[in-house]
């Protein structure tokens, strides 16, 4: 009985793995097709589309634009998120629950609504659509994730560590910089990579807050609206490989860091 269950369940699992991977694999394959027409079967292969990606100024600039946005928004998210986490963790004060609720709010708002709200607020603040607006929206949207990750790490720091530092003559700021911060580094690294990927992959906020220059997902979307072509596959594959590799590496990295300490 148990054995039969197990076999059925393992079939379901591998079917699920197939469901998750096959579309992506097909997409990668399609990028090798020696034809303008998207569709199976693939009769002859070419590397042309992939080499073309690296010659296409529009793609390259969208890529650079996306990376720049991801890096800058991540820096902001990390600084703000860490600060909020330090305030919220292990401290009880009047209104803490409210502050925490507001902190996680951006993560709970459905994508389109958050994009609209940012669009309106950017207008209200006088931020023109474009790079600044996207960075700002991504930063705000990613703060809750940083706060949660950093809080989780912070909760495992023994209180006596800070007390020992204070005891030996460190004021609260020096104690934070020399004891708390080094302890938080693994969490901050993990959260940074998570933010980088969230920002790099984000479409809806970039779409509504963007100016004339598209981020990579927006560029792919625009190209898709005007028709499918193996060129898009090649661009998408480059994005896929990059994000998947960073994601897997980050996963392993944070796991190792957590194991070490």
């Amino acid at each position: 009985m148990n054995r039969k269950n197990r076999i059925i369940l393992s079939c379901v699992y591998w079917a699920f793995v197939a469901y998750v991977f096959v579309p992506l694999i097909l997409m990668v394959l399609m990028g090798f097709k020696d034809s303008n027409f998207i569709g199976f079967p693939i009769r002859s292969y070419t590397l042309e589309w992939y080499t073309g990606v690296f010659d296409d100024a529009e793609t390259i600039s969208a890529f650079v634009y996306s990376v720049a946005i991801a890096v800058l928004s991540t820096v902001i998210s990390i600084l703000v998120g860490t600060w909020i986490a330090v305030l919220l963790e292990g401290r009880s004060f009047w209104g803490r629950a409210v502050v925490f609720g507001m902190t996680v709010l951006p993560a709970l708002i459905p994508g389109i609504i958050s994009a609209i709200a940012f669009r309106i607020y950017a207008r209200y603040l006088g931020i023109e659509p474009g790079m600044g607006a996207i960075i700002w929206a991504h930063a705000v949207h990613n703060v809750p994730f940083v706060v949660l990750v950093v809080m989780a790490r912070l909760s495992t720091l023994p209180k006596s560590q800070i007390e020992a530092a204070r005891d030996l003559g460190a004021d609260p700021l020096i104690a934070f910089l020399r004891i708390t911060f080094p302890y938080l580094v693994p969490a901050i690294m993990g959260a940074s990579i998570f933010c980088l990927l969230l920002s790099f992959d984000d479409f809806v906020r970039s779409f509504f807050l963007g100016g004339y220059e598209p981020t990579l997902p927006v560029l792919i979307f625009a190209k898709l609206k005007s028709g499918m072509s193996p060129e898009i596959n090649a661009i998408a594959t480059v994005a896929l490989v990059l994000t998947a590799v960073i994601g897997v590496w980050a996963e392993r990295f944070t796991r190792r860091m957590n194991k070490d300490s």
Binding site: F16, F21, G39, L88
Partner: protein, 328 residues
């Protein structure tokens, strides 16, 4: 005794302030820093204020602010305000929603779709989570999970596009079906609620899988064995033991997936057709055209947010009521 000697020596040295102090020593002795630190730490209350003021301002203005501003705009008749035009308070934008089926049809469609897709995701991922938590050894669990996490890092657009290739008329599914001989002409999967469903389930599956997995993983194996010992069959065991004890995971997974599903914009645009227009597209429409439509868009976004939040809250209540009923 060397100990005492050095202690005395050091006391004398502290007054001279040696030149080769370390960075931290230099910093904590630096007069401006000392003055600043003394001011900041003068009382625990002040110290807390200095720590708290920025985070509180940030969440108020950056997290809550956009939502409040959206609410405000939804209650006006014109935004952005053109010079010379006066802005008025009005409920017109909200009333507009009920006047035209073109508006409320997509709204209900979105909620129904989101509900159905959430349910499909749950049915699809529960056995997977169950398998991972129960039938995979501890050592391999992380590996098996990581395998599923890889596609999670790939963006929404890229994954939507992958589904397009899979389901197109000349896509892989049609090719396979034709090759087996089941069909002669391709089935038009694309631009229907089916393709949209496949896409959205594809995008959200992990948000369901992770809460389910952690709920199942926490469940002790002995619980099931005890039930078996008492003579419960496999189905009874699942229905009476496993399912009730994972309701919390189900509840949080479903809420998450439901909220995310209502917020998709690009996926319905790319995978759906004219008959499957969702509310996100309706809302977005108001922001592509002239500025005076913004209040309507904002109002619609508010309606959707409240509806999605309301349904989620109601669902969570229902689940917790179920959970309590079961433990009685």
């Amino acid at each position: 005794m060397t100990y005492e000697a050095s202690a005395r020596k050091e006391r004398g040295a502290a007054e001279k302030a040696p030149a080769d102090r370390t960075f931290w020593g230099r910093l904590s002795a630096w007069a401006p820093y000392r003055a600043l630190a003394a001011m900041a730490t003068a009382s625990p209350r002040r110290q807390f204020l200095i720590l708290a003021i920025f985070p509180i301002l940030w969440v108020l203005t950056q997290h809550l602010g956009p939502m409040l501003q959206m609410l405000r705009v939804s209650l006006t008749d014109a935004y952005p305000v053109a010079p010379g035009v006066e802005q008025h308070f009005t409920f017109d934008s909200y009333l507009r929603f009920f006047q035209d089926p073109l508006f409320w049809m997509p709204f209900f469609r979105t909620l129904i779709f989101a509900g159905v897709f959430t349910f499909c995701t749950l049915i699809l991922t529960y056995p997977v989570a169950y398998f991972l938590a129960r039938h995979v050894s501890r050592k391999n669990q992380m590996l098996f999970l990581l395998l599923l996490l890889i596609p999670f890092w790939v963006g929404e657009i890229v994954r939507t596009y992958a589904i397009m290739i899979l389901l197109g008329n000349t896509g892989a599914v049609n090719l396979v079906l034709r090759w087996i001989g089941l069909i002669d002409r391709p089935i038009p999967f694309m631009y229907t609620s089916f393709s949209m469903g496949v896409g959205i389930v594809y995008l959200t599956a992990l948000y369901m899988l992770l809460p389910l997995y952690s709920a199942l993983e926490k469940l002790p194996k002995s619980m099931n064995e005890a039930a078996a010992d008492l003579g419960a069959g496999a189905w009874t065991r699942f229905r009476r033991v496993t399912l009730p004890l994972t309701l919390e995971g189900i509840s949080s997974g479903c809420t998450l997936v439901f909220l995310i599903s209502t917020g998709f914009y690009a996926t319905p645009v790319l995978l759906g057709g004219p008959s499957t227009t969702v509310f996100a597209e309706t809302i977005a429409g108001f922001f592509h055209v002239a500025g005076d439509e913004w209040p309507t868009g904002a109002a619609f976004a508010v309606i959707m947010f409240l509806a999605a939040l309301g349904i989620s809250a109601a669902f969570q209540r229902l689940m917790s009521a179920l959970r309590k009923g079961d433990t009685k």
